[in-house]
């Protein structure tokens, strides 16, 4: 036990050092990184993770054994300089729901959109800088509300029809039209209001925001510019979401993106070919994209994906690599069969929140303490974050204490107080809200003798969430609070918290973008992703009112320093009241075959393919 503790401390210190070194280089290759010395096998010896460890071990064994064979080399290597030609084979876990981004939010539909369509602007996922794409340049009015955008001239869709400002106006109409109900409608609004877009020339548009909005046209990174000549009829008929379904002949799906769909084999794969009319060129003048073909295979199972990657039957996975898969991939990387990339700390972390809706526990004897700040602070103190990282992410995680992770280098509040792991202090804090062990049975009770007990809901089938809920249960048991863990399908979890029928939830809080201005739905009390008490008509608490006020100012300000100061203040209030308790942010890894060249990794999905036009292969 003591040895494990020592090993854990040493590993923690080493991980901290590694993290510090690596935050400056998210794209560092993971085979240069280190791991806790006991990882992953000590996990098998802990009671919390035994069954997960056995499962992981089985998969790892298969993958590791499969990797014993040297990867066949069917291609002649041409060095590390990207050249045109070759094909890339990537995998997805499920088919796209549609070829039309307005119809679905799923990750494969998003990938299809990324490959086949272009946007006005692009957020560089590695640097977070806004870059022009179809927009050549833009100017902003003095009040920051109007953007005059000059579009690139001489561009054509993949079917040869010229691109004009009318296509831009059409694309906004497609997103906003209520009759069609695009899933993108909400993502291109400012404060819930639509933008006004008008063509001011053949290749110029004016975009006007309803109010000053600091993130500005950054939000347009999510809006594909679609061919009006192909989809206008569907928009007028109110059938846009049915357009470009999977039964559509692939030649009908045209775009301004680097690839076109050349074949779709239901349930198996999508094949993309180079769009000969794509507009971007490499710095050396090479016409992009580099690849001739990009093949997307549907492989529902991660172990099969890993086996294919290791045996050179796959170049890249688009889904996240689970902690269990790290060890075999590391060995394969050390043997030179794959490239394993450490992308640093994730920008998103899972968190725990209690139901803070006023009246949610009316008539329940636990109402006196379940919604108190002290309970959440006690939870934060009771959980050993390093043990959490070791058990849940097999060491590949970093303790966090607030809503932002260190991955958000611009907006992370460096003054975030680091709650110590202190079970005794947690018990003292709970005593201040009337929870003490009155009958000496080790469980805390309230003044009326009711046990301190609540139910924690999390998603079934996601190992990291299930493991985390188990860790929380065990840590809370040590301070005398009984936590009953219930696992449900993701749709059930969402429905329960939207309906306010729960005690506590442990789930993911994915952010739209690193700029907090794009995450108003999380921060504002009226927001739909304000999970502890969604869509409030008026702020239920004083501190939520303060956050609302600060965020409204933060979103409207054009002074970046002022925005940072205001957001630091928001994070400070958040840490004081902890409406969501965060424990650990996982590290993100990506893997590719050794022949993949010129990728710029990002911690956001698709990590290696967010700029597909510049990816190349040795051939």
């Amino acid at each position: 036990m003591a040895a494990n503790k020592l090993a854990s401390c040493a590993a923690h210190a080493r991980n901290q050092a590694i993290l510090h070194a690596k935050t400056n280089s998210a794209a560092a290759f993971a085979h240069n990184s280190d791991r806790p010395s006991f990882w992953p096998f000590s996990q098998l010896s802990t009671g919390l993770s035994r069954r997960f460890g056995v499962l992981a071990g089985c998969v790892a064994l298969f993958v590791a054994l499969a990797g014993c064979r040297a990867a066949p080399s069917s291609t002649e290597r041409t060095g590390s300089r990207p050249t045109r030609g070759g094909e890339l084979l990537v995998s997805v876990r499920s088919e796209p729901a549609s070829f039309n981004r307005h119809a679905s939010r799923d990750s494969t539909t998003n990938l299809v959109n990324l490959l086949t369509q272009a946007r006005l602007v692009r957020v560089n996922q590695a640097t977070q800088v806004l870059e022009p794409m179809l927009a050549e340049s833009w100017t902003t009015s003095a009040d920051g509300r109007r953007y005059d955008v000059k579009l690139r001239e001489g561009l054509s869709f993949s079917d040869g029809v010229p691109f004009t400002a009318q296509d831009v106006v059409f694309s906004f109409d497609a997103a906003y039209d209520a009759k069609n109900g695009s899933v993108l409608g909400d993502t291109v609004t400012a404060g819930g209001k639509v933008l006004k877009v008008e063509a001011t020339g053949e290749h110029a548009v004016a975009i006007t925001f309803p109010a000053p909005f600091a993130p500005g046209i950054r939000i347009l990174d999510s809006l594909p510019i679609l061919p009006r000549h192909k989809l206008e009829g569907a928009l007028q008929a109110g059938t846009l979401r049915k357009a470009w379904g999977l039964q559509t002949p692939v030649a009908e799906v045209v775009g301004l993106g680097p690839f076109v769909i050349s074949a779709y084999q239901p349930g198996q794969r999508l094949i993309f070919a180079r769009n000969p009319r794509y507009f971007e060129k490499a710095p050396d003048g090479t016409q992009l994209p580099y690849l001739d073909r990009l093949i997307v295979d549907v492989i529902p199972d991660q172990s099969a994906e890993l086996l294919r990657l290791e045996s050179a039957q796959l170049d890249m996975m688009t889904s996240d690599i689970s902690p269990d898969a790290y060890a075999p991939l590391k060995r394969a990387a050390d043997a030179g069969r794959v490239k394993l990339l450490d992308l640093g700390v994730s920008r998103n972390a899972d968190g725990l929140w209690m139901n803070l809706k006023p009246g949610a526990f009316a008539g329940d004897p636990r109402a006196a303490w379940l919604q108190r700040d002290e309970l959440r602070r006690a939870i934060s103190m009771a959980v050993d974050r390093q043990a959490f990282a070791d058990t849940v992410f097999l060491g590949a995680g970093v303790p966090i204490y607030g809503a932002e992770t260190p991955a958000n280098k611009v907006w992370y509040w460096t003054g975030t107080p680091q709650t110590p792991h202190d079970p005794a202090a947690a018990r003292q804090l709970l005593a201040t809200i009337g929870l003490t062990d009155r009958d000496g049975n080790g469980t805390l009770e309230d003044a009326a003798g009711h046990p301190a007990q609540f139910t924690l809901i999390t998603q079934k089938g996601r190992a990291s969430l299930e493991r985390a809920a188990t860790v929380i249960r065990e840590e809370m048991k040590k301070i005398g609070v009984v936590v009953d863990v219930v696992t449900l399908d993701s749709s059930q979890v969402v429905q329960r918290f939207l309906a306010g029928r729960y005690d506590a939830v442990y789930y993911n809080a994915t952010k739209t973008d690193l700029d907090p201005g794009t995450n108003q739905d999380f921060w504002l009390s009226s927001g739909s992703a304000h999970p502890w008490n969604v869509e409030q008509k008026t702020p239920a608490t004083e501190w939520e009112r303060q956050i609302d006020e600060l965020m409204v100012r933060q979103i409207a300000s054009r002074d970046e320093a002022e925005r940072k100061r205001l957001y630091d203040e928001v994070q400070k209030i958040f840490c004081e009241h902890l409406p969501m308790v965060f424990f650990v942010a996982p590290r993100v890894y990506a893997a590719s075959s050794a022949r993949v060249l010129n990728v710029t990794p990002s911690d956001a999905r698709p990590q290696l393919l967010w700029r597909p036009e510049v990816v190349a292969v040795a051939h």
Binding site: A97, D186, V298, R308, S491
Partner: protein, 325 residues
């Protein structure tokens, strides 16, 4: 025989209707739905309500079921929420792939299992029979999931066969059949090996019992060669209980192949069902479950008909199939 066939067809219709209805109702009754599952917690309640209304999920269960059942009578099984396509279009293309896999596995299992069963059933002892019996016991106790993982591992290690999918992206049109056959090896073997072991055990048991029958002993006593006695005389009688099992095997092949399809990325009903369950697509869940029930019903019917042809007593009312054995 016509009446018998009519009875079996009626049973098949009732089975499919019951299974798909039960799946529909259970999937609909479970908390959460397609909208909350796909839109998550990041859209407003108005958007969620609008989507529910668009998909008809805001209707009471009874009304939704009535509409679906009425449409199903016209062979309209609803629109998949996930793919925005008619379920009636999605199921056949995937069911065909599952059928290819199932029949390939059945053929492999038959070719491997039956002869080995005859060999072990006709011999009282010996190293060969003992070895076959041991291997069979190991294989029969291995779930297809584990078999498929092991075979995928071997395929990855040796590079002999593709690990996943049904077609190569590079295969020329004229090579389609060969390409599919190569991709079929791993998933079909994963299903076939436990099945072949089961067939071997059944066939061995049946052969062992038949060998002791007076007519076999009489034939042997008349001096007929042992091979002829076993492979011509005893085999026909020993095959009857196996024939009765085939229908059930065809049906269970579908459910058994779900896990294998997922591991080997075979684009069949299993992977479609998995996507439907993940997305809570109730119409697609009901369709996949109904297709599974149809497989089972048709498999049973084909087997019963085959048995009735071999032994007419089986098709007489009140006669149990087992009695024919």
């Amino acid at each position: 025989m016509t009446q018998y066939l009519a009875r079996r067809l009626a049973f098949a219709v009732v089975l499919v209707a019951t299974v798909s209805s039960a799946s529909f109702v259970l999937a609909r009754l479970a908390p959460g739905d397609y909208v909350t599952g796909t839109l998550g917690g990041r859209v407003s309640s108005e958007v969620i309500a609008r989507e529910r209304a668009r998909l008809g999920l805001d209707k009471p269960l009874a009304e939704q079921y009535r509409d679906w059942a009425a449409a199903a009578l016209r062979l309209d099984f609803g629109q998949s929420m996930l793919y925005d396509r008619p379920v009636g279009d999605l199921i056949p293309e995937r069911a065909a792939n599952t059928a290819i896999l199932a029949f390939a596995a059945l053929a492999m299992a038959t070719v491997i299992g039956l002869p080995l069963g005859i060999v072990t059933g006709a011999r009282r002892g010996g190293a060969l029979a003992a070895t076959i019996r041991t291997v069979s016991l190991v294989l029969v106790s291995m779930p297809p999931l584990l078999t498929s993982l092991a075979l995928v591992f071997i395929a990855a290690r040796t590079g002999w066969f593709p690990i996943a999918g049904m077609r190569s992206s590079t295969a020329a049109d004229e090579d389609v059949l060969f390409d599919i056959l190569r991709h079929l090896v791993v998933p079909a073997l994963a299903i076939a090996l436990p099945l072949a072991a089961a067939l071997e055990r059944l066939q061995a048991q049946s052969m062992s019992e038949t060998i002791g029958q007076p007519f076999v002993l009489a034939a042997a006593a008349r001096g007929l060669p042992r091979g002829r006695v076993v492979w011509r005389g005893a085999l026909k009688a020993a095959l009857r209980p196996i024939a009765a099992m085939y229908g059930l095997m065809i049906g269970t092949l579908l459910s058994g192949s779900f896990a294998v399809e997922v591991i080997t990325a075979w684009p069949g009903l299993g992977t479609l069902m998995l996507q439907a369950l993940r997305a809570r697509d109730i119409y697609l869940i009901a369709g996949c479950a109904g297709a599974g029930a149809l497989f089972l019903a048709l498999g049973t019917m084909v087997s019963d008909v085959a048995l009735a042809v071999v032994d007419p007593r089986a098709s007489e009312p009140g006669t149990r199939v087992e009695a024919a054995a």
